[in-house]
Point group: C2
Chain length 286, copies 2
């Protein structure tokens, strides 16, 4: 189902979805699947989408305030460094009322977190009904860097794919719509972006020498992502691979995925659970 943004010629959820025969290597990060129109039109559509998304989110939030919300949304963001997760948070998530958003940026696990199962810290950050949860990195780190850097034995990595599927099926059944997004940039584009961080003193803080260490393992990471897609793109919690060399497209596409999801939820302004006429009289007399 496509919303009425004129630049979209196909539903983002269909053209970006990871299906059974998906090959990451076949996705060109320069492309803009489903969208006809360039950067300028994309910016206008993004701005237009903010109003739509805000109203849908407010309705969802309103349902939670009177205890009738049965749905929530969880946006999971994964990507190589500099692919634009921060820009999604700023320009897409930042467009809706912060009251209705729960954002978590997962870092390397602490000692306490490592002493528990890898899903322990994740579960605590799931959005309540009526909220949009956003994970900047997630439990997928445990099968991405976890696998590439061999941070756990192979049989434990293997166990995690099934554990993730069971976990996500459970939270989907409880009313959470899960949108898993990989922002896909090319190796060359990453070099350009990291290079810019080194050139500009106001960007130095965004650069970490470890970024190059991970970059040197690019092919291993792509293989780890491919396995993630094969093992964990399920009906309950599908993956979407968003070509992200064009920042404007990546932002627009993630906004569209959120819009499609919220439109499907179709949240309604809740009916009053009190006697409106009686309250008008009480208020008038107060």
């Amino acid at each position: 189902m496509s919303t009425d943004h004129s630049g979209w010629k196909a539903a983002a959820s269909e053209v970006l979805r990871v299906g059974p025969d998906f090959r990451l290597g076949a996705v060109d990060p320069e492309t803009t699947p489903g969208y006809e129109g360039g950067k300028a039109r994309g910016a206008a559509d993004l701005a237009g989408g903010i109003g739509q998304l805000s109203e849908l989110q407010e309705r969802l939030f309103a349902e939670s305030r009177v205890g009738v919300a049965k749905d929530s949304v969880l946006l999971v963001l994964q990507a190589m460094d500099s692919a634009g997760k921060g820009g999604i948070v700023r320009h897409v998530v930042g467009g809706v009322d912060p009251q209705g958003v729960h954002l978590t940026a997962f870092k390397a696990p602490t000692a306490e977190e490592r002493a528990h199962d890898f899903l322990w810290r994740i579960e605590k950050r799931l959005p309540e009904h009526g909220f949009i949860g956003v994970f900047d990195r997630s439990h997928y780190e445990d099968v991405l860097i976890g696998r590439v850097r061999q941070l756990a034995p192979p049989e434990e990595i293997e166990r995690r794919y099934d554990a993730i599927n069971a976990f996500e099926a459970e939270i989907a059944a409880s009313g959470t719509r899960i949108i898993k997004v990989m922002l896909h940039i090319s190796r060359h584009e990453q070099k350009k972006r990291l290079s810019e961080r080194l050139e500009r003193p106001d960007k130095h803080w965004k650069y970490n020498p470890g970024d190059v260490d991970e970059r040197l393992l690019w092919d291993d990471y792509m293989a780890a992502f491919q396995t993630v897609f094969e093992r964990t793109s399920t009906a309950a919690a599908p993956w979407y691979v968003v070509p992200a060399n064009s920042k404007w497209y990546a932002r627009l596409a993630v906004q569209e995925l959120l819009l499609e999801t919220l439109t499907a939820i179709d949240p309604q302004w809740p009916a009053a659970d009190y006697d409106v006429e009686a309250e008008k009289k009480r208020l008038a007399a107060s």
Copy 2:
């Protein structure tokens, strides 16, 4: 110190600050202290301020990412129902990157929270260095509704003012700039706003019959606020009373208080803690 917004003719932090002889009853909620210019100019200044606030916030956040941030900001919002706390969160706080904001909406305490000291749940939500924390309601509920509704014995209420001052002095000493704001609307303005919520089906969810119950205790609440100001407006954590009948002014004034605070912190883009030239070579070779 005033920023360069042209409509401001005095520092918001000076004209709105609760000093020794402050009387809440003497503040007219219709006024716009320190600001010359009406609604249209106010909207333009608010829009202009978003860019300034965003850059200052990003610098503060950058310092936290490389471990050199020594400051954080805590904005505490208190008010009667419908005074506009939500609008501040949406239109002022919503203008900065959600990654750098920790927002907490405090509700009536849970059984677990009531089993602890009233500051227990507050301490857990304090912002880390580099972050802007926002409290939509706070520990002041425990001396506002707590006092008006006699939810605790008088001697416990009495104890809390000193406990709050000691607590806030401690967190201020650790680097948190505390900005405590009461949004001040008139009783008549509240009636208008609650009435609008009852007239519009899309606003019914924002209305609660309990709002009128509290409204009937208006004078008691004003007296409780007055005592809060007398007992807890300290050098380390001053109160600001913001006339809020004009929503545009209240938003602009809170933005200005944040701008003044962040300008005083004067966060700087952190210097690289790695060898920039060596990294350029590593990246080029990767």
